[in-house]
Amino acid sequence: MTSTVTTSPVTGCPVAIRIQEDDFDIAREIALLTKSRTDIGAVVSFSGICRAGEDSSKIAALTLEHYPDMAEEEIKRHVHEAISRWPLNGVTVIHRVGRFMPGQNIVLVLTASQHRKAAFEAAEFLMDYLKTSAPFWKKEESATGTGWVEARARDDEAAARWTRS
């Protein structure tokens, strides 16, 4: 597992971005983010989990494909935008790739700040962009066959509300 922790050249905010097959441990990641820090008053954690779905189209497994050279760069661009928009003291983004069963972790976003509002908003901003602009694609396996998940308009709308005019 490669782990790259860099810092924002503008604010010095530590940034960890990882794309990996392995699972992650949320408690460990939060501990890494807050270790030796006394300026963090809020950590927001978002986990995206593989879900089975409804009866008729119950998902047996999900395969995540990605564009390795671009994925980390694209996530990094949005993390640095988040750092420029909110006073953040740390950001961790972990996106898993491979094949997942319902109940397994897929993605983790941690945002740390002095106060909760910035941490909540930045986490939501990052997830909205991860879903619509990071180069990952889901393929579902169900009793009726396999198929690529279609992008949803409501995810684009969620990301669009962060656009600054």
Binding site: H66, E74, F136, W137
Partner: protein, 83 residues
């Protein structure tokens, strides 16, 4: 230039990447998609709805009217569904 395909675009084209040499008259992403569509049934199928296709040049998203001159790597893929 190197071209990469992902998800169902990759499956329809039948390969993950290749090196192509389009003619000089092909200047933009949409012109490249049109040119590729004329190469075989597989490309025509992959690009049958060109407005759905997303494109990245050198690892950054671009629009259909983006110039391809100087691109090292162009990637075509469906709308993203990660997260």
């Amino acid at each position: 230039m190197k071209v990469k395909y992902f998800a169902w675009v990759r499956e329809r084209v039948g390969k993950a990447e290749e090196t192509i040499e389009p003619p000089a008259t092909v200047r933009t992403v949409e012109e490249l998609i049109a040119w590729l569509s004329g190469q075989s049934e597989a490309y025509a199928y992959a690009f049958e709805k060109p407005k759905v296709i997303r494109t990245a040049i050198d690892h950054a998203h671009v629009k259909a009217d983006a110039a391809i001159a100087g691109a090292r790597e162009i990637a075509f893929f469906p709308p993203m569904t990660g997260g």
